[in-house]
């Protein structure tokens, strides 16, 4: 069954440290997305990608970088983690045919920055 997987599932980091969140999809979708989920804010788009080698800024990209080395893999990088980046992070893959879009989400990564 096609799936989106994320690693690690839980991460505790120290302020100023580097954090890399990984995402892998077997859906063969061109598009991949990184969101963070916070109570009261819903799902907010950080970065997204149209395919291998491409990354685009989402609505809240500051403090985050993204990398799409292949169709299957999409990473989110926090070069200097801060406590405000404590959140649950979701990766998603999807296709978009003239707006009949559907995104398939991974199980999420809970990140705590101390």
């Amino acid at each position: 069954e096609a799936a989106v997987t994320q690693s690690p599932r839980n991460k505790v980091a120290v302020t100023g440290g580097k954090v890399t969140l990984s995402c892998n999809q077997t859906n063969n979708h061109n598009n991949m997305y990184w969101y963070r989920q916070d109570t009261g804010h819903g799902l907010r788009l950080i970065h997204y990608s149209y395919g291998a080698g491409s990354t685009e800024k989402g609505d809240i990209p500051d403090g985050y970088k993204a990398s799409r080395p292949s169709q299957e893999n999409f990473s989110l990088i926090l070069e200097l983690a801060t406590p405000s980046q404590t959140s649950v992070y979701f990766c998603a893959s999807g296709e978009d045919w003239g707006g009949y879009a559907e995104q398939f989400f991974g199980p999420g990564t809970r990140l705590t920055v101390l």
Binding site: Y35, G42, L45, D59, D96, G99, A101, E102, Q103
Partner: protein, 113 residues
């Protein structure tokens, strides 16, 4: 820019009563609208999506009608079930260019016996 507003953060209902979760939106172009559902400790997944031909999407007893005149896409169900307890997101995909989906803040629905 595009935006989605879900006015209720928390909704608590008794099993068997009707459900209505509000969603309004702003978009420059006629957008596509979606409802996603997230059960506890699970990933969000698509529940419904709007059609361009005025058909009313339905799934698992839920339905939603896109009203362009009022920029709304409210989620409804005639009789709530305990298993409907979840976080519901209304989302929008603008009918132009880039393939971003904008999510609302979410409504947490709790159904009590």
């Amino acid at each position: 820019g595009d935006s989605v507003t879900q006015t209720e953060g928390l909704v608590t209902l008794t099993e068997g009563l009707p459900v209505m979760l509000n969603c309004t939106y702003q978009s420059t172009y006629s957008p596509f609208l979606f409802w996603y559902v997230q059960h506890l400790n699970e990933a969000p997944k698509l529940l419904l999506k709007s059609f361009t031909d005025n058909k009313r999407p339905e799934h698992q007893g839920f339905h939603a009608t896109l009203h362009k005149s009022s920029s709304s896409f409210h989620l409804q169900k005639s009789s709530a079930q305990l298993s409907d307890s979840a976080l519901y997101y209304c989302a929008l995909r603008a009918n132009y260019g880039n393939e971003k989906i904008t999510f609302g803040a979410g409504t947490k629905l709790t159904i009590k016996p």
